[in-house]
């Protein structure tokens, strides 16, 4: 594991070094790209927390025995899965003010991205909860463990490791989808590179750096997820 991380880091450093050596004008546009990267990271981290929280709350709520909870979650999932993220962003930023709800660009972006991906994540969580063997529920009933305790202590701890591959995939997708937040006036890395390209016209250099940055973000999530999964399933004796 650490060997692979080291290899990726070395390769990235090599590529960055190569780029610096090859494209001497890097310093002209790099600061602007990095400022964009900070925006991308900020929106991604905030949206990710909202996305994971919504995924767990509504994924589990979708299986509730209480009908209003189940329906509310189902409506949320269907609305946000069924509509375009870009249009949702427009709604949060440009339409809601007409109803007196004023959101900052960052708030609109985080809400839009987080809620949109939360709806997809909910289905991953629902699948993971449903994948916990029926025998676990039966054991909990036989041991008279109260329902909410068994959800919290028996079902969710077993479902979490199962959600990790699906949720890390979606998290990577989400980072890439944050490129859409330029629609609500934020200058993220994609928009920054478009701007810098228009100014400096160094198309190859600029979009190569942008590509590599996205790749690094995705690798960070992938390795984080894989490590978390390994830690959580170590004692389950599963073959990887």
């Amino acid at each position: 594991m650490t060997v692979r991380i080291a290899a990726i880091a070395a390769l990235t450093a090599f590529l960055v070094g190569l780029a610096v050596a090859t494209f001497s004008e890097l310093r002209v546009f790099l600061p602007a790209l990095l400022r964009g990267a900070v925006v991308t990271i900020k929106i991604s981290v905030l949206s990710a927390f909202l996305f994971w929280a919504m995924a767990f709350v509504t994924g589990i709520g979708r299986l509730s025995k209480i009908r209003p909870i189940r329906w509310t979650c189902a409506v949320y999932i269907e609305v946000f899965r069924g509509t375009s993220l870009l249009v949702i962003l427009f709604w949060f930023f440009f339409v809601l003010p007409e109803f007196g709800v004023l959101l900052s660009a960052t708030a609109a972006a985080v809400l839009g991205v987080g809620l949109n991906f939360g709806a997809y994540g909910a289905e991953v969580v629902r699948g993971a909860v449903a994948a916990v063997p029926q025998g676990q529920r039966e054991a909990a009933v036989a041991l008279n463990i109260p329902k909410h305790r068994y959800m919290l202590r028996v079902i969710i701890p077993q479902a979490i490791p199962v959600t990790i591959p699906g949720l890390s995939n979606l998290t990577i997708e989400m980072i890439k989808a944050t490129a859409l937040v330029s629609a609500v006036t934020l200058v993220d890395i994609t928009f920054a590179s478009v701007q810098q390209n228009q100014i400096h016209y160094r198309t190859l250099d600029i979009f190569l750096v942008t590509l590599m940055l996205y790749y690094c973000f995705a690798q960070f999530v992938r390795f984080g997820g894989a490590m978390l999964e390994e830690r959580m399933t170590r004692h389950l004796g599963k073959v990887h």
Binding site: P133, G135, Q136, E138, A139, V141, A142, L143, N144, I145, P146, R149, Y150, R153, V154, P157, Q158, H235, L236, G237, K238
Partner: protein, 257 residues
């Protein structure tokens, strides 16, 4: 004889059109060890499952220690039981499953203290003390920090027995406890069950295909077929001179194998 510990009164269990228990009348006395045998689909496992409230019944009443399980008293009328009522009656019953159903993310010890802490609200130290005693009793004291995946099938089933006993049930249900085990591990599990049966402090209901074992530990054997008890009796008599034709056929098939 005192009131029966368990009484099924015209209990009917259906899955759609399929009748699994057909107006079943069945009683078990306190301290009795009863083995249920029968062909697959005869309803023998269902008896344990409805008693453990894993599945609802469509008709009839199940009594546990003189109290209705699926109903409760409202004045002098029986009304459908509330969750709280079911929980209180169910606390007298423990169950051991064919596939163990241990919690895979908890160690052997954690499996045995989970329910006492979460359900009985015992202080953790007391639950641990009791769990260690039980793990000693099933011969697995040295495996207390092992996860189920690190234990053999026989060891897992012994942990499952300790876990059920940790809730201090009066009635223990064993649902084919050795059917999922490799042959060389059957003995260690049967030894533990034999000890429990000979302690005479538990009422035991056992579903098994181990006829020799059933004969050795049971006070009574019931042969189920098509959701009813077709024949029952003291094990020596039932195995040696069965009266019912279907029981004769069943025994000849089982004993041949």
């Amino acid at each position: 004889m005192t009131d029966p510990k368990i009484r099924f009164e015209k209990v009917t269990k259906r899955y759609g059109a399929l009748v699994v228990l057909d107006q079943l009348q069945f009683e078990v006395a306190e301290g009795e060890v009863v083995t249920i045998i029968g062909p697959s689909g005869s309803g023998k496992t269902t008896v344990l499952r409805v008693l453990m409230t894993l599945e609802p019944i469509q008709d009839g009443i199940i009594w546990v220690g003189g109290e209705p399980l699926n109903k409760m008293w409202s004045g002098d009328r029986l009304v459908p039981a509330s969750e709280a009522h079911i929980r209180s009656v169910r606390s007298r019953i423990g169950m051991v499953f064919q596939n163990f159903n241990l919690f895979p993310h908890m160690t052997a010890l954690e499996n045995c203290i989970e329910a006492p802490v979460q359900s009985l609200k015992l202080p953790k130290s007391e639950a641990v003390e009791r769990a260690v005693e039980l793990l000693e009793m099933v011969g697995l004291d040295d495996k207390r920090s092992h996860y189920p995946s690190q234990l053999s099938g026989g060891q897992q089933q012994r942990v499952a027995i300790a876990r059920a006993l940790a809730m201090r049930p009066k009635i223990i249900l064993f649902d084919e406890p050795t059917s999922a085990l490799d042959p060389e591990m059957v003995g260690e599990v049967l030894t533990v069950i034999r000890e429990l049966a000979s302690a005479h402090s538990y009422t035991i209901l056992l579903v098994t295909h181990q006829m020799g074992f059933a004969r050795e530990i049971s006070n009574r054997v019931c042969f189920f077929d098509q959701g009813r008890i077709v024949e029952q009796g003291e094990p020596g008599r039932l195995f040696e001179s069965p009266r019912n034709e279907r029981l004769k056929l069943f025994l000849s098939k089982i004993l041949q194998a």
